[in-house]
Amino acid sequence: MSGNEINRRDFLKVMGWSGAGVALAGCDMPTTVTLEEGKEKVTSYVLPEEYVIPGVGVYYASTCQQCPAGCGIHGRVREGRFLKVEGNPDAPLNHGKVCQMGQAGVQGHYNPDRITKPLIRKGGALVEASWDEAMDLIKQNVGAESTLKGERFAWVTGTVSGHQAVLLQSHLDAMGSTNHFAHEIVNNAVSQAVNREMLGEAQPAYRIDEARLIVSFGADLLGASQSPVHFTTQYAKFREAPRGVLVQVESKMTLTGANADLWLAVRPGTEGVLALGLANALLVKHKRDAADLPADVRDVIAKYDHDTVQRITGVAGDRIVKVAAWLNSQSPSLVLAGGSAEGQAHGYDTAAAVMLLNIILGNIGRTIVSSGDLPFAQMEAKSGNTAGLLALADTLDKGGLDAVFVYNTNPVYTAPSHLNLAEKLSAVPFKVVFAQFPDETAMRADVVLPIHSPYEDWGTHVAGYYGNQISIQQPLMEPLNPTTRGFGDLLLGMLKMRGVAGYADFEDYYGYIRQAVAALPAEMKADAGSEDKYWQQVLQRGLIPVQRKPRSLTAKAIAVSLPDYAQDSEYPYHLVPSPRLGMWDGRYANIPWLQEAPDQISKVVWDSWAEMHPLTAQKLGVMEGDVIKITSDQGAIEAAVYIYKGIHPDAIAVPLGQGHEKEFSRYAKDRGVNPLKILSPVREAKTGELALYGTRVKLAKAGRNEALVKLGGTDQQMGRKLVATVTADVFRRTEGGQDVA
């Protein structure tokens, strides 16, 4: 095995080759032909590898680590350089497709701002140190001989799964701690809680491809969601003839909203009311059978008649009638809550109201089906949420932590300023951050350990959504910087440091994973023949399919109580801090491709902006590019406005992503604002999540104009036939399928 290892490491080495160098056409001023002799070097392999031919790209299967979705990828490698991410066609999760963040992973890997050496805080500043120094420090503080008490230690991570989660848990156990704060801004924790109560399973599978109608209340399936590529591939099927109808209800147009047949602007926070109104229409107007519904539920629904809903939500009556009619006629349908619907103080009730619709329409078991249980429960994804962040802040408040290990999350950036996380974290005596980049959290650590990029490291992952496989992450190339180390290796080292039994035999994380794969039940590798063959097969496919144990979903209707819409005279507007496919929660602001890739909706690049409805703009007297000051009770941010009709007049949307500290990246430096910073301390009442969309703000003109940097000169087609649109009935006539209604 180890002989193999050396071999493999060797051929992955970066090499210069004829024609493989950087080819510059015209960098040859002023002569045009550079026929040089002896100016370039050619390097040969020391040892040849059979299937590696210089000049020919080789593809290795691996798993994308850009977001928690865990798509299967193929990495293109040439001459030891990892060049491009491509989808793994064998991966049932993403069918060979990747989103832009997946594509951009390469630039994270080769990022010029990566941390390459361990950093240790000395005299207030982080200075480069050797690994030995860093590990000694860690050993001192959290090693077996340290005085650290169990509960005073914590792990802060993003979503973790697979053997990473297993080892992490082992480490926590070894430390005697239960403090694992998993934090993600883009999450569906509220929905999961609702699902757990109403369906009996936190994360059922949505059969978008099966649905004929999707009504999404703020769930940005195609954009910032649990598994954007998976949902999008399903969406493609959904749109094939006979074409399904997509209705999106939200207050700021998301990418999903931009693709909706009907996009309904709802007054922020009243999505649940609309859901109940639809339920009302279904029961009253369409005489849906409500016998199964408990009386209290029926009472609640009865309150929301047409006029009430229209008044509260601000949605035109005919639209409500239309959606209700569609819901009635199109079956199976799928009604989803997410994002802006959940992120309110009453998010739980909103999500529950939406789920009620599914129950009334009988979608449970048809378009909402059980995901089942992973046979290896310890590898199941531990999904991050904002409650994790709040819990961390609360624990820190109590001064309850002496050592914090942070991995794959950046809470100092994502935490609202009212949490005061940076200061609280500074008070912790020992903070270790396992980081690729000098992000805000890393810059406040006592020890920063540079880890491999996901393309240099081994790993296994189980997707939080559609985790029907153990995804294998294998290195695509030799570590770019010899001084970085794999997170798994470090974790294993940490375990060994605590002297945990059972880990001493593993030389490294690779060995551990290999051992774990070898230990899989025999029936899973029946057709492979030998152990080595199976391992090769696994590496070639990049995943191990897993049969999940299905459950049956319950459909328990619960009564919800939703507040009436309340005006706020001081802070009349609602802040929508919108995550987007690309910048995500801000972690990709250091990737130039994603900075330069325009936002799907506003087409703005390299900056923050504030989205605003023309009516609001008229009221404020601002034009596109005018800077406005957005003030909440927690502070103020300034951004130039983008005006369009895809937002409710009461809402102001500021995208996540920018506003990083200057150390993070040359590409994110002095760029835009971070709307998360001004969030009010509103929490979702039942789950304790941070109500991301529950902040009220006031707006004021800043009195200056900063032209928005956008792709494109105009938003209109100016009479050209650029994008032509036909109605769905024409589509069905020519390409098959029955008409809606």
């Binding site: 000169g713 105009t714 209109q716």
Partner: protein, 467 residues
Amino acid sequence: MQTKDINEQIKWAQINKDVLRSMENPRMAYWVAVGTCLAMLMCAVVAEIYQYQVGMGPANLNWPQMWGLYIATFIFWIGMSHSGTLLSAILHIVHADWRKPIYRFAEAMTTFSLMTAGLFPMIHLGRLWNMYWVLPYVSDRGIWPNFRSPLVWDAFAIFTYLTSSAMFLFIGMIPDLAICRDNAKGWRKKLYTALSLGWSGTDRQWRHFRKTYLLMACFLIPLAVSVHSIVSSDFAMSIMPGWHVTSFPPYFVAGALYSGCAAIITLFILLRYFFRFEEYMTIPILEKTCKLTFVIAMAWSYLNLIEFAATWYGHDTAAKEVLWDKFTGPYSPYFWAMLFFGSVLPFTLAFEKLRRHLPTMFVVSLLLNVGMWLERWMIVSPTLSLSYHPIAWNVLWPSMVQWAIVFGSFGWFGLLFLVFVKVFPSVSMYEVKEMVYHRRRAHVEDQAKYFHRRLSDRQPATDTPSP
């Protein structure tokens, strides 16, 4: 009031003296002018070096404003070059002898503005150092330029025109160079001896000279028309709205003659003032030039209107958008300024009082050329800022790099012209002599018709000569 084009009684020696004097003893003002032009040129040189090193970005060119002022100014200078041909070739063929005192500097202007114009297609290239690839040379690689491209036509046309007009200028100057040779000393003697090619004024030389000059004039007229037509096809041959206009070739030619004439008026007044050429560059000649300019201005205005009308009448909506944008869009101030300078201001030329007032004419002629420069800019930029695909619509103003190069091109032209007037006779001496000779002779013959008749009745003594 002076009515005669020229004083017929002027002594020929005086002509020689006056013109040769103008070539000598540069005064302080001359050196100041040279210095100014050099300074202007240096602006362009610095800007161009910067652009060469860094790329076309600092010029504030963008997607899709790829051309900007460079090509606009290129057309402007090409247009300017049409004056010499017009005055010298067309008027020569129609025997309008009032051209004789003023055609020389007009031809020089032609050559120099072509030399200026030719720089711009090079300057605007992203990879200037590969410019020679446009030339059809037999290459080792077996590749050729694309002869379908109007830019290659430009290269051909400009090369032909520059060669022809420079030769036309030179050939027409040979007798004058002989005069210079006969009166010069030192390095000038050597220079003029070489340049005058041994001209001695024999009847054989004059005979060939006359035919050559006439034939070249005949060639230059269609050539000049074709040159600006070809330049117009840079635009007319494209499919861009506002460029794809059938009337562009005559429109460009008219505009070219127009700006050329306006420039002649400017230089006429300057030369007359600085070189005391009152005897030669007389007010009546200026008046004739002004009238000619006025006519051309009206033709140009008409072609403008026709272009608007044709666009308006057609159903090319994109072209209409461009037109409407010119009227009302961000470029409208310049567009209306162009129309004012180009179509309204020339009416000053229709008034004799104004025509004869040199300061007024000086200012007017300068403004006419400003208008003509704006015209070229209004051809290039609005279409680029607004085309078929609205995604690329934008307005980007030229940066200092572009302005510096445009500004410097005037310095380069001025420098060439200043050197010319001190090295070469800027008034054609021999042709002024011819003009005087023929006019006086015509006058004398008028008076002596009677004697003529009497003389022609004479019979020779014998029919056959004695051996």
